[in-house]
Symmetry: C2
Subunit: 283 residues, 2 copies
């Protein structure tokens, strides 16, 4: 079962119009979130982000419809799941220009989430594709997501688990699927939202939680050099929560801050537990 055009249906019942601009042009948005005990984690933040992105695109999305879609698929089964919420601009005539009054197509699907997805570790590889701060696709989860796909492909071809992506400005942007945090002593830094970085939901959560753990947080430009010398490097996203980065290309990263790593993991797990009826992420 999935949510499609305002109701739960089976895949067989989907009537999809090939003139959909999401398919033809990547003209649309998505969110990926988890749900535990039927409760989508950080739902409001995900909906806020999608609505804000829709405004930037000139798409008219109904927040209540998005929420209903997510809650409907979250409610299908109590097993932990990953929910993908997709909103295309809808159909349009041939060409790039959207119709004046497009009707967005909203659908949501779910896939199993496993505890092993959380709090893992990853080796990164530097890649050729840079992040373009002038492109709205760099700071939104749009259906035009091929750059991250190809960045990941390039990193995997190099034997790594994920890509270390820099901005065209040369500073660190993100991985193909996550925001980055760099810790030195008690200073926790993440790349600023300069247009090349997605305003990640877990990124925001960490920025909110970390001061309570004694970290001094800041958002600014980060160089690869400081990443390589850091006490701890962590990637954050909505499915894997936190991932410890153990190397970049042939350069192993230090593991000086196992205490900080534990503290961050515990804080995120505690957030999930509080929001999702005591669900235990077992960090």
């Amino acid at each position: 079962m999935l949510w499609y055009k305002e109701k739960l249906v089976t895949a067989d019942e989907v009537k999809f119009d090939l003139a959909d601009r999401g398919l033809l042009l990547g003209d649309g948005l998505f969110e990926t979130l988890t749900a535990f005990n039927h409760i989508p984690f950080q739902l409001e933040a995900h909906l806020d982000r999608m609505i804000h992105s829709a405004q930037r695109l000139g798409m008219n999305l109904d927040r209540a419809v998005l929420q209903e879609a997510v809650l409907a698929v979250a409610g299908l089964d109590e097993a932990p799941c990953v929910i993908r919420l997709t909103a295309s601009r809808g159909t349009g005539p041939r060409g790039l220009a959207p119709p004046e009054h497009a009707t967005p197509l909203v659908f949501a699907t779910r896939a199993p989430w496993h505890n092993a997805m959380a709090f893992g570790q990853a080796k990164l590889a530097t890649v050729s594709i840079q992040r373009n701060p002038t492109s709205p696709t760099s700071s939104m989860k749009t259906l035009a997501y091929l750059d991250p796909v190809l960045s990941l492909q390039e990193a995997k071809a190099k034997g790594a688990d994920d890509a270390l992506i820099v901005s065209t400005s040369g500073s660190i942007a993100c991985t193909s699927m996550a925001n980055m945090f760099i810790l030195n002593r008690n200073s926790l830094v993440t790349p600023a939202l300069d247009g090349s970085v997605l305003p990640g939901i877990i990124r925001r959560l960490i920025l909110d939680l970390a001061p309570k753990l004694g970290f001094i947080v800041s958002e600014r430009a980060c160089s690869i050099a400081e990443l390589l010398e850091a006490d701890l490097v962590v990637a954050s996203n909505s499915v894997r929560f936190l991932t410890r980065i153990i190397g970049v290309d042939d350069w192993p990263l230090s593991n000086h801050s196992s205490e900080a790593w534990m503290a961050l993991k515990n804080a995120v797990a505690e957030s999930v537990s509080q929001e999702c009826k005591g669900f235990a992420l077992t960090p």
Copy 2:
């Protein structure tokens, strides 16, 4: 009628899988071409480009299938048409990484082409989104086409017909839908294929035809300054063929070279006539 999964079907018969990576991630390619008298113009060049792009993406496309799709929709009706050929990587599991053996989804649709589309004129507006030469999406027609969509939207909001897009390097790349040519006396220049420019089919045709018309052609970095001072600025694409650029923002462009404009139009029209059984573009 349209071509979908290796045969002609009606729109009602389309069974589309929402796990398609073209829809979810922009992971796929397209071509737009015209057909006159049932004959797709520059078909081989379009197929070459799509196959070459597919190789870059690691997609396994069958050229014979692509050709059959285009010829099938071209053959539906003798009216001139615009054909859109789409090839998504196919379905895959959740996440960015494509499956090891994806089965591409190929479909082709047609829309009416009108003589008024050819050889028009357009006013451009400079826009905020720059073209990223490190992104494969800048030099291929991928389904992740949101940057051109938003560039056009921004240009139209400024009262222009199309966008003048520069590369992150600062030099001219293209419009939202066309390559650019700049003429000064008999020197015809187009931005080099530095990664930020699509290798356009009509661009290639002009580079081949122009020397026979007495132009000296070159591909190199072009500045906005030289565009603004040119004798003639022309945009080229596969639907509109050539478009004369009459202004950028508030700066009117000269019309010194009406002879060159006529010569280029006639040469393209002659190519169409030769390839498509005497079809007259009436430039």
